[in-house]
């Protein structure tokens, strides 16, 4: 066998890493031992999404394309944080920052580019660093430094009104800073837009809260140790405590130039991506091809694909012939796509424009010799031709419709008035970063990639800048039309078993499956999906009650130890305080426990009780015993609390005894398992002090001694007023209807579907018919089953404090003993 070829890639950015990925996934890739030298100390991340990190829509950890383990799994040696400092192409070796040499058979330079710094007085310190408070915006480190500084900053300036500057300014506005954008030209985005488009964009950007300073040339940075402002050529100044410089980028060519490779603006490459010396290639922003350098990811990825094909398949004659570029601005609430020329080059060029400045709409197309030569598409105009269609016409140079108006507004054919992705030809490119066509996406969806995530992973669509995600979603819906309306998995009760809740309940009952492992045995070939266990446990308990065969490992940790896990692995203890009514004696006991066990935090909760927070697992049983109070179930999907107000006994407005009612409700239904948590409240009058109308279930006393029962209220991540189920006369009736609703919810809601979603899904009219008018004749059964659940309830705290389920149920850490050498077996 021949020796493996040593492939060294300099630069672990979007181009270099893509090349490696393309090589290892192709036949022929096994010919190479790959080493990647990356100046940045990370795996490979999506640089484009740094704009999203800055504006808070992505966490840094979510923009990684390949974690370090990916490199290991593919036998790629990644030297993260080790920059290349010299190339000896005659000796076929590269020197790295630690002085050592890497030998290569084949070398690829993918060093990207670096921010250009404008010549501002006082910007760069003597040690070569930027003055504190000034930043460039190219790397994850830049981004994190900006974010760290921005929490202390109030007034930010961004220098440069190009794509990067606009995204940076909009990001900082969304972070809550006062933001000033300073641009030398009188026109924003002057490289991509004409004056009219630029003026509309300026207005839209200003409406987002960015203060614009156009036609202003910055000449100096103010401040001694740290930046405190900017000075302009007209002598005026702007105070600021953070400044991002986004005035363009310059290809990183120093390595190549020093080594004697041909370099003009970028490292010169040919159509086969080869540099001017043998066995060295370049791609991405550092490369110059046919006199052209690029600043977008699509060309870098296209070059990576072609080079990978050439390196893995010696017979390949694939050539790179250049890219035509279109791009979108990633500022939320702003729709801007630009491509090609922005102005006509001669009188024979046609210009088609449509503008509604007041609505922020501006469309301009340049047509040359019957082909689309450029376009500016600003603003979302419902019914117009989608930008993706025009991008396709542009990229492929297709002939245009004779009626040029059809380029903007499709002619009504038949009864179809609007053009959506559905009307686009199959070869329309949807994802411009990865070059994925509509046809490819549809085919993958039809072949079974039925969720947005699966579809994106399979086709790579929307994995670059992500701006085509909406269209991929539309295609997903389109592909499933006729066969299935949507991903069937969304209807499964748990992911591992392809059955809806009613189907699953039927099968479980028919086959008498009483434990989670029995369900896996019978319905999933014995394969235990960990993500399905807790949902099955909850369902089986609801179906079988006392006859359920409990398996502790199917429970979430909270339900194994009856307490809520905290971020540091300790737990919280919330004893039950019925209806929020307590006694001095109870409070004293809680206080004693808090002191005895040095509980770090004692907190009054939003549920009218007391939380002992930061308790270690092994202390739980002793604390429960000392408290002598039942569990408040604050940790589980079950009946939680019933909050009350003072009501008629004490309050001068009280119309009904809400306190007594609340205590009765909580005593009756405490701890019963539900698809999700259920929180109740009773209010003594419509002033609603206990917020009963925004609880899962609420009872509100009204004039005449009656009670209104509300269901499906919410005041958490969603706020929703509950729907009135019925109005009744007595406490007993309130208890009855509430129990009936809870049982119906237990039987019909999906796992983790809160009542507010459930009520909306089935509809209040339906609930009234079934639960009040008894249209299905099931009320008596529902009442009986909830009664059985009430009777089956046992307080878990006092039971397991006396008798733990296993000897190590409450062990936080177990000790191990070293075994003397040679012993052990």
């Amino acid at each position: 066998m021949t020796r493996k070829q040593r492939l060294v890639v300099i630069g672990n950015g979007m181009g270099g890493a893509r090349l490696v990925e393309e090589i290892v996934s192709r036949p022929g890739g096994e010919r190479y031992d790959i080493t990647v030298l990356g100046a940045e100390p990370y795996g490979n991340y999506n640089r484009i999404l740094l704009s999203g990190v800055l504006d808070g829509s992505y966490c840094p950890e979510h923009i990684f394309l390949h974690p370090l383990t990916w490199y290991e799994q593919h036998n790629v040696r990644l030297c993260a944080g080790r920059a290349a400092v010299g190339i000896d192409w005659q000796g076929h070796r590269v020197q790295t920052a630690d002085g050592s040499w890497e030998l290569y058979d084949c070398l690829v330079i993918a060093t990207g580019s670096s921010p250009c710094l404008p010549p501002l007085a006082n910007l760069v310190r003597k040690d070569g660093q930027l003055i504190a408070g000034a930043f460039t915006f190219r790397t994850l480190d830049d981004c994190q430094a900006i974010l760290a500084h921005s929490s202390r900053a109030r007034r930010a300036a961004v220098i440069g009104g190009g794509l990067l500057g606009l995204e940076a300014a909009s990001g900082l506005v969304r972070r809550g800073l006062e933001v000033h954008l300073v641009h030398r030209s009188p026109h924003l985005l002057n490289l991509q837009l004409d004056a009219a488009g630029s003026a509309i964009l300026a207005r839209l950007i200003a409406e987002q809260g960015v203060q614009l300073h156009l036609g202003k040339e910055t000449v100096a940075v103010l401040g001694q140790d740290r930046l405190c402002g900017l000075r302009f050529s007209d002598g005026s100044e702007l105070a600021c405590d953070l400044c991002i410089i986004a005035t363009g980028a310059r290809p990183n060519t120093d390595l190549a130039r020093t080594a004697g490779l041909a370099v003009r603006h970028g490292i010169v490459i040919d159509d086969d991506l080869a540099c001017s010396v043998p066995d060295v290639f370049a791609l991405g922003e550092c490369a110059e091809h046919r006199g052209q350098t690029y600043g977008l990811v699509a060309p870098a990825w296209e070059q990576a694909r072609i080079l990978a094909e050439r390196l893995t398949d010696r017979a390949s004659r694939k050539q790179y012939t250049g890219s035509v570029l279109s791009t979108r601005l990633k500022v939320s609430g702003l729709d801007l796509t630009v491509m090609g020329d922005k102005e006509p080059a001669s009188n024979s060029d046609e210009v088609i424009t449509y503008a509604e400045p007041a609505r922020g709409i501006y469309k301009k197309l340049i047509v040359r010799e019957g082909r689309l030569q450029g376009a500016i598409l600003l603003g979302d105009l419902p019914g117009s031709v989608p930008a993706a269609r025009l991008v396709q016409l542009f990229h492929r140079g297709d002939p245009l419709p004779a009626h040029r108006a059809e380029l903007l507004f499709p002619c009504p054919t038949g009864n179809k008035q609007t053009l959506s992705v559905a009307d686009l030809p199959d070869d329309t490119q949807i994802c411009n970063c990865n070059g994925v066509s509509k046809g490819t996406i549809l085919a993958a969806a039809r072949a079974g990639k039925r969720s947005l995530q699966a579809l994106c992973e399979a086709t790579r669509a929307a994995t670059g800048c992500g701006s085509c995600k909406g269209q991929v979603q539309e295609l997903l819906v389109l592909a499933c039309e006729g066969e299935v309306a949507e991903d069937p998995a969304v209807h499964y009760y748990v992911p591992a078993i392809p059955l809806t809740k009613p189907e699953l309940v039927r099968v479980i009952k028919e086959r008498g499956l009483r434990s989670v492992s029995a369900v896996f045995q019978a319905l999933a070939d014995g394969k235990e999906d960990p993500a399905s266990k807790a949902g099955l446990a909850s369902l089986l308990k609801t179906i079988w009650g006392k006859d359920y065969q409990d398996e502790r490992d199917a429970r979430f940790i909270n339900d194994r130890v009856h307490a809520n896990i905290q971020k540091d692995g300790t737990f919280s203890v919330v004893p039950r305080i019925y209806g929020g009514v307590t006694t001095p004696e109870q409070l004293r006991r809680i206080a004693d426990v808090a002191e005895k066990y040095r509980v770090p935090l004692v907190k009054i909760t939003g549920g009218q009780r007391i939380d002992l927070v930061g308790v270690r697992k092994e202390e739980l049983p002793a604390i429960w015993k000392d408290l002598g109070m039942p569990s408040g179930h604050a940790y589980t999907k079950a009946f939680r609390t019933c909050k009350t107000c003072l009501g008629s006994d004490f309050c001068r407005y009280g119309l009904g005894d809400s306190t007594t009612l609340g205590i009765k409700i909580e005593k009756r239904y405490q701890g019963i398992e539900m698809p999700h948590k259920v929180k109740l409240a009773t209010a003594g009058c419509p002033r609603n002090c206990s917020e009963a109308t925004t609880k899962d279930l609420g009872a509100v006393a009204i004039e005449g001694g009656r009670w209104e029962i509300y269901v499906g209220g919410a005041a958490g991540s969603r706020v929703r007023k509950g729907d009135l189920l019925c109005t009744v006369d007595t406490h007993e009736e309130v208890l009855l209807y509430m129990g009936r609703f809870m049982q119906y919810y237990r039987e019909n809601a999906k796992y983790q579907e809160r009542s507010y979603d459930f009520v909306e899904r089935v509809g209040i009219e339906h609930l009234r018919r079934v639960l009040v008018e008894d249209a299905e004749g099931i009320c008596e059964r529902l009442d009986r089953e909830i009664q059985a659940a009430v009777e089956a309830y046992v307080d878990p705290w006092q039971r397991e404090a006396e008798q733990p389920v296993t000897s190590t149920q409450f062990s936080q850490v177990l000790e191990a003993m070293p075994v003397p050498l040679g012993a052990g077996d």
């Binding site: 370090l68 290991e72 199917a554 979430f556 000897s807």
Partner: protein, 113 residues
Amino acid sequence: MKAPLSPGAVCYNLGHISRIPRGEGRTYRLHDRLIAVFRSRNDELFATQADCPHRGGPLADGIIGDGKVICPLHAFKFDLRTGAPLGNTCPQLHTYPVRLDAKGNILVTVDDS
């Protein structure tokens, strides 16, 4: 067969397997470190680092099944055999060789050399 231990390796006895209920995990202290040991419902054993690389969640408190563990704090998933992150970009979990001796004691080998 007993493979010779390399010089830096230390073997620990974690006590009888019954200390870990079927399908659960427990955290153990091994002199200078904490590890998580899991016992599947069919008595396979796995040992990994104790804390989740994401935000330090106690992995032994996670739910396991099909050779995977789900962290109790934010539901990140890992392969118990290899430690590989599943669907997240955390670093790989450290894993340790683990076996049973004739008496049913769990033995874990730590080799830092």
